[in-house]
Structures are given as C-alpha cells and as structure tokens.
C-alpha cells in the first residue's frame, strides 16, 4: 500500500529536493536485512553451528589404536547411532529422566497453581497491600538459582533450620529434607519459590487486559468472585497459562544448578541426578564428549516433543476462543 502511494509521487515527479522515491524504496527494501545482520551472524555462530556440531559429535566416536599414544593414535570415526543406542539403554540416564519427570510432576502444577491463585487474588477488588505483595512474590526471580538453592539448602539443614527448631519444640517428627522422598520436596520447593512470581506476573498481566465490562454483567447478576474467577477469568487467560506451562516444562526438564548446588550439602544427590547433570559428567568428568553430545540431543528432542505435544493439545482445545493468541 505504502509503496503504491509513493510510486504515484514518483510519476508526478517530486518538485522538491526529496531523494528519488525509487532509491528510498530500494534502500527500504534492503534495510531490514542490514538490521538483521548482527542477529543472523550471532545465530549462525552460537546457535546453528554448535547444534550442528553436537549432532555431528553424537554420530562419532573415538577409535584408539594401540596404546592411544602419539599423534594419529586417536581417530574420530563414524559411529552411526551407537551413542544413541548406548544412551537410551543407559540406566543412569533413564533413572535421571524418571527423577526429573517426578520432580516436574510436582513443580509445574504447584508453581502454576500458586501463580494463578496469586494472580487472581491480585486482580480481585479491594485487595490490600497488592503492590507490596506483588513485588515480594516476584522478588525470588532476581535471585540466582544457585543462591536460592544455597539459601534453602541451609534452611533444610537440621542444625540451622528454623523449621526443625519449631518442629522439635512442638514435639513433631522431623522429616529428612535432604534424603529420599524429602529431597524431591526440597528441590521442588526451590523451583516453586523461584518461578512462581514470574509466572504470576505473566498471568496477572493478561488478567489486567480483560476489559471489566466482560464480567460486570455477571457481577450484577450476583455471581461470586469465585464464580467469576472460575467461569470467566481463568478461561480468558488460558493462552497465558499455556505459555507459562510451556516455559515451565522446558525449564524443568533442564534442571541443573539447583541439584548441583545442593550436592555439597547431602550425599543423596548423585552426579547423575538429572539427565543434564549426567551429560555434564560425561563431557567433563569422563571426557566422553560423543556420548555427552548424544545425551544432549536426546534431552533436546524430548523437550521439544513434550513441549510441542502439549502446545498442540492445548491449542486444539482452545482454538475456538483463542482470538488474542498469546502463543503464536
């Protein structure tokens, strides 16, 4: 449309010192590519190249000739899907995957449930201290996962923890939060603590975007806030729930820094507690970058399959009323 308008100027012949419209048009046509140059170069160097290299590595292995000494004694040879077959039958990786799925089954519903509840509460009428509580709940987002795990780790240590102190005074049993099933609760709590605020903000924002007229009528009809929340607000923020779910699954499957940080405080976090930790150990602990690359590719594919599978399921369900589409 714009180009058509400008072309008509060209036909008339611009009487003043404007540059020729065709040259502007040409410049406008190449400009976006210049603007996108830095991003494209960076993408090629730091995303595409490493991904390609990881896939290449995962299909290779090292062949050692003789004692493996001297140049040429260690050669990279084609391995086909050998590394993948090994990884998929490796009990350490599978155990790690099961642990992380169990962990995710706690973290994602609890975190998003809390985020939704807090967002709805913030959005309700006459709530007091809303800006303060909103900031307080969002605050953990600013705290690095390592530091969060460190702080909670100390709060889990019976010798320094206020919880154990209170439980002891009340004569209640003291669970071991750094071992067995308690460890899941302990790790999940760190993730919930760190992630609820961010998700709350995302959901709260889309709640704020709903025009009040939408539920004004329901309010006049005497609907309770709970009914309004369940029947109107939650369905209307479904797209942002899908978005937060999507990001939460991705983050959960890649959990690394929290269990790694808790490791020095307990003996029950192994070096292969999560699949990502095992990949790290393979690459840097054992120096087997080929297996590590295969493990990394498997985690990536599993993440994509799980998150896209979820996204498709959610989209087909929400298709009818998803007009704004937070997820594109």
């Amino acid at each position: 449309m714009t180009s058509a308008r400008r072309r008509s100027y060209g036909v008339k012949g611009a009487p003043y010192a404007h540059p020729s419209p065709t040259t502007t048009l040409k410049r406008a046509r190449s400009a976006p590519y210049f603007f996108l140059l830095p991003a494209t170069v960076l993408f090629a160097l730091f995303f595409a190249l490493p991904i390609g290299y990881a896939v290449w590595l995962s299909l290779h292995k090292v062949q050692v000739n003789g004692l493996g000494l001297g140049s040429g004694a260690r050669r990279e040879v084609w391995a086909g899907f050998e590394n993948y077959a090994d990884a998929l039958t490796d009990s350490e990786l599978l155990d790690g995957a099961l642990r992380v799925l169990g962990y995710g089954a706690i973290v994602v519903p609890v975190m998003l449930g809390l985020a939704l509840v807090f967002a709805l509460m913030l959005d309700s009428d006459k709530v007091k201290l809303a800006p303060f509580t909103r900031l307080a709940i969002f605050l953990p987002y600013a705290i690095p996962g390592v530091v969060a795990a460190l702080l909670w780790g100390f709060l889990y240590l019976p010798d320094v923890s206020p919880f154990y102190f209170v439980l002891e005074k009340l004569g209640l049993p003291q669970p071991d939060l750094l071992d067995g099933g308690g460890l899941y609760a302990a790790l999940s709590n760190i993730a919930v603590w760190g992630g609820t605020g961010f998700n709350m903000i995302v959901i709260y924002t889309s709640l704020q975007a709903i025009p009040t007229e939408v539920y004004e009528a329901a309010k006049l009809d005497g609907a309770t806030p709970l009914q309004i929340a369940l029947r109107i607000k939650i369905p209307m923020v479904a797209p942002s729930l899908v978005l937060t779910f999507f990001f939460s699954i991705i983050a959960t499957l890649q959990v690394f820094s929290e269990p790694t940080t808790l490791k020095p405080l307990t003996n029950s976090v192994s070096t292969t507690w999560s699949p990502l930790m095992k990949v790290y150990r393979d690459a840097f602990g054992e120096g087997d970058i080929y297996s590590a690359a295969a493990g990394a590719v498997i985690i990536a594919v599993a993440t994509l399959v799980l998150s896209f599978g979820f996204l498709r399921a959610a989209n087909s369900r929400n298709k009818r009323d998803d007009s704004q589409g937070a997820v594109r």
Binding site: Y53, L114, T133, A296
Partner: protein, 301 residues
C-alpha cells in the same frame, strides 16, 4: 521492608479502584485475597530474611542460637570475606557486573535492531527468520553449551571473558519482546514521514524509532541483565580460572569447599547476602522505569 510497603501503597489507590457499590460483604471477602497474598509474600521473603539474620552470626552462633535471632559477628564475617583469598569475592562480583552489564547492553542493542526490522518492514523471509530465531528459545542450554565450549576451545577462547559474554548476546526472547514493542510503539506513518523527509533508514531508526522504543528496551535490558547475572551453566562449563568466575560460580565453589570445612559456612552465607543485595537494590530503584507488565510481552495500545 516497611519503607517499601509505604512507598508501594501510594500508587495502589489509582491502580485498584474499588467498585462504587462497595457493600460491607465485599470488604469481608477481600480479606481472603489479602491474607493469601501476605502468606505468599512471607514465603518468598523468608529465605531473604533468614540470610539477612544468619549473616550476622559468627561461626559458633550459627549452630547454637535460634535461627531468627541476630548474632554479633556481621563485621567479622564481612572482613573475613574481604580477606578470603585476597578479596576474590569482590572480583567475582565485578565479573558478574561486567558479564551482566556489557552482555545485557549488547543484547538489547541486537534485540532492538532485529525487533524493529521484524516489526516495521515487510520483506521476503521475514517470518522464516523470526521463526528460526525463536526456535533458539527452545534449545536447551546444554545442547548449546557443550559444543559452544568445544568450539570456543578450538578458537582459543575457552576460559576467557568472551566465552561467557558472546554466546549470550543474542537473546531470542529479547528479539521477541522488541518486535512486540516496536510494532506497538512505532507508528508506520512516522517511519513513512521520515522517508518523505529524506532520512536514511538507519537515521529513521536511531532518531525516531529508538526513542519511542526506550521503555520496552529498558525491560529487555533488565530481563537480560537478570538472566546473565543468574546464569550458572555457561560459566560453569566455560571457565576454569576462578579469577574470571561470576558470583554464582564463585559462591558455588565456596560452598563446595565449605562442605569440608564448616568454618566457611559463614563466608558462604555472608557472600550470598551481599550477592543478592545488588539485584534487590536494582529491582527497587528501577521499578518505576521497569514495567513488570511488559515482561510478559503485553503492550497496551
């Protein structure tokens, strides 16, 4: 905390207008949301309050006195931390500031030009480029970090500042947000008018569009700053020289050593407190420039 509460309640009146009818029943119901939110706030502030108090305790007090009872060793703890390996702690803090500051600045610049181009121009391959960049969001850091390390090692850049800085400059989420802001904040007519006046495309971007995008770009900057400051995996993989560690990695190594020598616990705790202070301060100071709502990509038109 109380000063924060006071400062934040002032704008509350304007953002949450009560309904005109306001029956006493409504007042009673608002108690539930308020209490729920207060509980949430307490839960979120609890570890911060704990570290604040624990940092005041000397090594012996840490294990002997009640958790929320302040100790007497804060000054000693800080000076111990200063003295620890000739003040390497402050080196870590400086490194984090460098990684996060420079990284976020570069990242915001790249996001701004890319987002602007994707929002304003109609050109061949626009959606393809956008989709490919967005696919970067989904790439698990691990599939990137290990080959990134190996490639960095080949380029002789592993264990340098560059190895932590460069891979984080392109932020797909930053590009996504910038595209949304540019589309909402920069009217096509204004760009068109600039062209009519004979301004170059670059000049239109820097002189006209960029100032309009500033509020959104502040959010992109802060988002990226927090992301880099909190990053652990990349420096953990890239760096071996602890003089180049960011604070997250530094504290982690301190904790690892501390598990053998509990005397280091107080150092770890004091270090953790001092490490969260800058980010909390950053949050509070720039709140008014930073619209939390923009973080989720929502732009009111």
């Amino acid at each position: 905390m109380s000063s924060l509460a006071v400062r934040k309640t002032a704008p509350a009146a304007s953002t949450t207008p009560g309904t005109a009818q306001g029956p006493p029943l409504g007042r009673r119901i608002a108690l539930v949301p308020t209490l729920t939110l207060l509980l949430g706030a307490i839960y979120c502030l609890l570890p911060v309050a704990w570290v604040l108090i624990a940092a005041t305790k000397s090594g012996s007090e840490l294990f002997s006195t009640f958790t929320f009872f302040p100790g007497t060793g804060f000054a000693d703890n800080v000076s111990d931390l200063n003295a620890y390996r000739d003040g390497v702690y402050w080196k870590w803090m400086g490194n984090s500031a460098l990684y996060a500051g420079v990284g976020a600045l570069l990242s915001t610049a790249v996001s701004a030009v890319s987002g602007y181009a994707l929002a304003i121009y109609r050109f061949k391959g626009r959606e393809t480029i956008f989709s490919v960049l967005m696919a970067g969001v989904l790439m698990p850091p691990v599939i990137l970090a290990i080959p990134q390390y190996l490639l960095m090692a080949k380029a002789d850049l592993a264990d340098t500042y560059w190895s932590v800085l460069l891979p984080l400059v392109l932020s797909p989420y930053g590009v996504y947000l910038s595209r949304i802001y540019a589309a909402a904040a920069v009217p096509g007519d204004v760009v068109e008018a600039g062209r009519m006046d004979g301004a170059s495309e670059w000049r239109i971007f820097t002189r006209i569009a960029l100032p309009m995008m500033v509020p959104g770009l502040v959010t992109v900057f802060l988002f990226q700053f927090v992301a880099v400051w909190n990053n652990f995996l990349l420096p953990y993989i890239m760096l071996s020289d602890d003089e180049k560690f960011p604070i997250t990695l530094g504290l982690f190594t301190l904790l690892e050593q501390g598990s053998n020598t509990p005397a280091l616990y107080t150092l770890v705790i004091t270090g953790a407190l001092l490490a969260v202070i800058p980010l909390i301060a950053l949050f509070l100071v720039i709140q008014r420039f930073w619209s939390l709502d923009l973080l989720s990509g929502a732009v009111k038109s």
